[in-house]
Amino acid sequence: MQDKVNIVVIKPRGKKWWSIEWREIWRYKDLLYFLVMRDIKILYKQTVLGFTWAIIRPLLSMFVFTLIFGKLAKLTSDGVPYAIFNYTALVPWTYFSSSLTTSTQSLIMNVRIFTKVYFPRLFIPLTPILAKLVDFFIAFIILIIMMAWYHIYPTVKILIIPYLVFLMILFSSGVSMWLSALAIQYRDVKYGVQFLAQFLMYAAPVVWSISLIPQKYRLLYGLYPMAGVIEGFRCSLLNTKPIPWDLIISGTISALIIFITGFLYFRWKERIFADVA
């Protein structure tokens, strides 16, 4: 029908500024696909090792940490070899930190695109979130190989893994929306995020065991969603302890809050991105 043409209305921000036009997202789905493919393809372009880097990077970290914290500092590792204790945490951690640093820069890197063309702006910080999943799955496969090497066999507890991956993505996206929208206006964030990532790593139980946290602070500490994700990975895959529901639940609550506020902040700011960039 001729009358049913789609009318685009352009005006200053209205009352329902946060609402998403799902029809529009659907129309642009191919763009999201190609953006993600771009990030995946260019990541290891012109390297000799290519995707082997996705394996080498967490493994190298593991060797360093095992040497320093496992052998020298002799940190406790919940009864499993320190190397796999550490690597199990590094798999979700590497995903979180690399998607965090990449998406913080994402708006700055894509200035030339979004100041010229309209498309759903949320695609920009979400692209690294999706693209880094490739590295995550490669690292995860290595983890499975290592488990076989150490003769560690998972139990039915691994059914929680998909939820933990979801929680990990939820938290990463929330933080990414916050930081990318902040970084486009305040470039300090771009420099600060390197330190933030380092700080967050030591704040998470990556090199140390969660058993170092006193019981009464456990729920509070669980508000840091990566605590629940990492401890959940260890408990379910390495069969160290029962599933830490307390950590996972409080982590889910705070991840949801960060996701929703991050989404609102991003939507609030996105209309002025082109002006402040």
């Binding site: 009318i7 685009v8 209305v9 352009i10 005006k11 129309r27 372009k45 063309v117 002025i272 082109a274």
Partner: protein, 429 residues
């Protein structure tokens, strides 16, 4: 919105904040204090970029001020104006890249924007990958690109290099690829900004041709350009913007006349910056064009007595010079030449400086924009050559004393004196 309206803009305004000059302290204590408080100041400044509550007038500019207009379906409208007149801001608002401060706009149908050539292309990816990436960024779906893929490659003339990373392309190849993708965008409304000013001459001609196809397909097009000739060739209607306001929106020749008046006075021809070739023994140092009424704008009327006045300067010992003016259209197509060789004048240059005039008794071109090229040979060797010495706007004049003037697009550029003789033959007599 009425059915035949494609774009409706009502009281659209956009305010930008420009950075204020920072105050420099004049004492040491002041400098230390300034250094310590700098982060606080910076934060205020950065935050202000997105806040307009206070509306101080000192550091805001109105890029657009209460602009209203309507464009019918299938209309092709040019937007002209000086730098900073608000052309790009208007296009950016309509492309939804940035938000208006007040007012609103309605657009019916899918909107494609072509604000740059090669938007979103990534140097590490191959031509093929970039066609899909850039195409989807511009708003196409994968299926649409699949259908047009061969056409795009064909147009860009890159079939051999389609699987080569774009970073190995020459800049000309990149531009060709970028334009080819954008030109195959299939939307109801197309917003185009200055994309024809890229590539070599032959590709420019090709892309202009492609733009002509686009505008003849019945789509609504808004076309921003500094190339008056392109505007003239593509757009029957034009909008003139000046400091964020619409000065005139009318038929293109009328609007361009206004534009050239606006620009003409403050646009002294600086020949030094033009591209020129030749051994430099003799050089063109000044050039102007005027009619018999002495109007000295960059425009003449069809049919006017037209004078091109110029000055030559001698930089070496030479004896004989030949001079020629070449008139070209915007495609670079040579239309005609005025030359001292044609008129059989042998010119000896004895003094340091030579002033000359070339007089055309009845200017023979239809309204439009043309380029005048200049050529001078010293002792049969090319001394100075400027392909585009002057951009000339020709406006309607009374070539035929009251008759209708031809339209370049339909009737061709030349006005030739002619007359008709009829003889009625009656049947059976």
């Amino acid at each position: 919105m009425r059915n035949n309206i494609s774009i409706k803009v009502e009281n659209l305004s956009k305010i930008y904040r420009i950075g204020l000059k920072e105050e420099t302290p004049d004492t040491f204590v002041g400098a230390v204090k300034g250094f310590l408080l700098r982060p606080v100041e910076n934060f205020r400044r950065l935050r202000k970029l997105s806040k307009f509550k206070e509306m101080e007038t000192k550091d805001v500019i109105w890029a657009l001020r209460n602009v209203s207009f309507e464009i019918k379906k299938g209309e092709v409208v040019g937007i002209v104006g000086e730098n900073g007149a608000g052309k790009s801001t208007l296009l950016k608002i309509l492309a939804r890249v940035t938000d208006p401060t007040s007012g609103y706009a309605l657009l019916s149908g899918r909107v494609g924007s072509l604000l740059e050539v090669g938007t979103g292309m990534h140097p590490e990816l191959t031509g093929r990958e970039n066609i899909y990436l850039s195409g989807t960024i511009l708003g196409m779906t994968k299926k649409e690109i699949d259908n047009k893929f061969d056409e795009i490659v064909e147009f860009a003339n890159l079939s051999k290099f389609i699987d080569t990373p774009v970073k190995r392309y020459s800049s000309g190849m990149k531009v060709r690829l970028g334009f080819a993708i954008a030109a195959h965008l299939n939307t109801d409304i197309l917003l185009v900004d200055e994309v024809l000013a890229v590539g070599d001459l032959s590709f420019q001609r090709k892309s202009l041709g492609k733009m002509r196809d686009v505008v003849s397909e019945g789509r609504t097009v808004l076309f921003v350009s500094h190339n008056m000739a392109a505007v003239q060739a593509l757009c029957p209607k034009t909008m003139l913007l000046h400091s964020g306001k619409i000065v005139k929106i009318d038929r293109t020749p009328e609007v361009l006349k206004e534009y050239f008046k606006l620009m003409g006075n403050k646009n002294p021809k600086n020949l030094d910056n033009l591209k020129r070739e030749g051994n430099g023994k003799v050089k063109l140092t000044s050039l102007k064009i005027y009619n018999n009424l002495g109007d000295e704008f960059n425009y003449v009327r069809s049919g006017d007595v037209t004078v091109i006045e110029f000055t030559l300067e001698k930089y070496a010992i030479v004896k004989i010079v030949d001079i020629a003016f070449r008139f070209r259209d915007l495609f670079g197509q040579l239309l005609f030449t005025c030359s001292t060789q044609f008129t059989g004048q042998t010119l000896e240059i004895n003094s340091q400086r030579l002033r000359g005039k070339c007089i055309l008794n009845k200017f023979p071109l239809a309204p439009g924009i043309y380029h005048i090229g200049f050529w001078v040979a010293a002792d049969r060797e090319r001394a100075d050559y400027l392909e585009k010495a002057l951009e000339l706007q020709v406006i309607e004049g009374n070539f035929w004393k009251g008759g209708k003037l031809p339209v370049v697009r339909k009737d061709g550029p030349f006005l030739v004196e002619h007359k008709w003789v009829f003889e009625e033959e009656k049947n059976g007599q």
